[in-house]
């Protein structure tokens, strides 16, 4: 055996076993994170903190799912917020009008989201770059306009009023604040774990190839359209789950959930946290919500402050916070290695 062959024989199995082991490590980290979040209500009586985590769960799922499109596939969607709104309205309407159990309504909402995302995605993913971005935005505005104008179903600009029924299931009562908090955390952790699996699967690497060079990807036998449509629908499902958490949290659904500003916030969160690391959008979510909660208390010029923060990240760091931290750590490690 030559030296090179010996090196190959050693390196490849190591990489493989590392990648398979990483799945178990991810599960362990997720369980640990869930355990920490679950004991939080016992450590603090702060309702505001629990509310903050619930909002983080909703927007974190939404923003991380957007990063599956933006960071992993190179599809910059300006209309991803439509699925957040669809989740909130779909779940709210099913609960208000049918009285189905919560888990059934949850699954039904995801089925509806899948169907709508498949139709919208089939049209949008054929388009490239800015055309894709603006057509997704157009679909979002179409859905927002439908919500506003279909008053008999959606309540128009008043939203779904009267609260969303939350009958108990399997001993879980979502009208109980702690139960809602634990359920939101569970959905967040499971959602992140599933998205992590997507990112690290062969399909995740197919998405990276499409992002880097879609033409070349098609010349190695990848059906680019199908792969883009698949991730578009999967991302919609996680965004919709974020919307469901939000609907449960506010016990209603409002047109703002499907407005373009939700998509804008998703893009902003990704810019803040960074798109090259899996947890970047989650960090961005926490940052944005902290900024939101503190700045709005201090000044009415919330938009100006956020604009300055965006400029700092876009022009100052030229990357998101997690991108910056990871690069800094890599440089430091390489430096000490020398």
């Amino acid at each position: 055996m030559t030296e090179l062959q010996a090196e190959q024989a050693a390196v490849v199995p190591r990489i493989e076993s590392q990648s398979q082991r990483s799945r178990y490590i991810d599960v362990l980290i997720a369980l640990a994170a869930f355990a920490v979040l679950a004991i939080l209500p016992m450590l603090t009586g702060s309702k505001a903190l629990l509310d903050f985590v619930i909002r983080c769960s909703a927007f974190g799922l939404f923003a991380t799912s957007l990063n599956l499109l933006v960071g992993f596939t190179g599809l910059v969607s300006f209309g991803h917020g439509m699925f957040f709104g669809l989740g909130a309205y779909g779940f709210g309407l099913i609960m208000q009008r049918t009285g189905l159990p919560v888990p059934v309504a949850f699954v039904a909402t995801l089925v509806i989201t899948t169907l709508i995302a498949a139709v919208i995605g089939a049209i949008c993913v054929r388009l490239k770059e800015i055309y894709f971005a603006f057509v997704t935005l157009a679909f979002q505005m179409l859905i927002h306009s439908t919500i506003l104008s279909w008053v008999s179903l959606t309540g128009g600009d008043q939203g779904l009023r009267g609260g969303i029924p939350r009958p108990a299931f399997f001993g879980i009562d979502l009208s109980n604040h702690v139960h809602l908090y634990i359920t939101s955390c569970a959905l967040l952790v499971i959602g992140l774990l599933l998205m992590r699996q997507i990112a690290q699967s062969p399909f995740g690497y197919t998405l990276r190839m499409i992002r880097d060079n879609a033409t070349r990807a098609s010349f190695i036998g990848i059906d680019v359209w199908r792969a883009k449509l698949t991730i578009f629908v999967l991302a919609a499902l996680f965004a919709s789950t974020g919307g469901i958490i939000m609907a449960l949290f506010v016990s209603g659904a409002y047109p703002e959930f499907a407005y373009w500003t939700i998509s804008g916030e998703g893009i902003f969160i990704n810019m803040l946290g960074g798109v090259t690391t899996f947890l970047g959008p989650m960090v961005g979510t926490v940052l944005l919500l902290i900024l939101n909660d503190t700045v709005t208390r201090l000044t009415e010029y919330y938009g100006i402050v956020l604009g300055i923060v965006i400029l700092f990240f876009a022009i100052g760091l030229r990357k998101g916070l997690m991108d910056f931290v990871v690069e800094w750590y890599a440089r430091r490690r390489d430096g000490s290695g020398k």
Binding site: Q197, P202, R216, I220, G221
Partner: protein
Amino acid sequence: MLEIRSLSKSFGGVKATDNVTLDFADGSLTAVIGPNGAGKSTFFNLITGALRPDSGQILLNGVDMAGRSPPEIVRHGIGRAFQVASIFPSLTVQETMLAAVCADQRRASVLHRRFPLAETRDRAEHAMELLGLASKRNRIAATLSHGDQKLLDIALALVLDPKVLLLDEPTAGMGTEERWRMIDKVRELWETQKITVVFIEHDMDIVFKIAPEIVVLCYGRILATGTPDAIRRNEAVIDAYLGTEHHAGAAV
């Protein structure tokens, strides 16, 4: 066997490929030459599905490829490398190879397992070894030298086990020494892999040295086909493309 039958493609009033009929025997090595704008790259784009022909047939072992999508054509066994190295800049050499084998094994959509898959390993290793990229397996593709990026581009086509490999100017943008290294590698691949190789090349010294068969295109038409000696002596080729430098008398 790759058979091209009456293949035509026009862009507006310009006939980029004009009624081309050609046969490429199994295991042959053929150079496609011609002046700029002769339609060489268009010819490759038609065969690989990047462009849809206006008329004609592209038969690979009797199956018509004309009008099919690039992924379909790749799965039938026609691979290609590009004039400008077409790679995945953010992936490492090894990831690129493993992901390409995944795609070839119809596992590109697998969601429930982690990358890389064990069953993709051997083929990826083999392709990296063949192209001399095994020692650079952990390098990010964007950081490779121009020559290595071209090799990676060829490796991407080769790892799919093609029956026919089309190389669009494999030596483009390289220095003299690097060009010869690359072309030696192409010849070595042809000899060891027993596949049909068709390549576009502008350097006539390279073409006449390694290609047993040459096709000359001019204004989208076939001007001549034959052995290097026959092409050197062909008056039409000398007038349209070679000039006097490479004709038979000059070679002697």
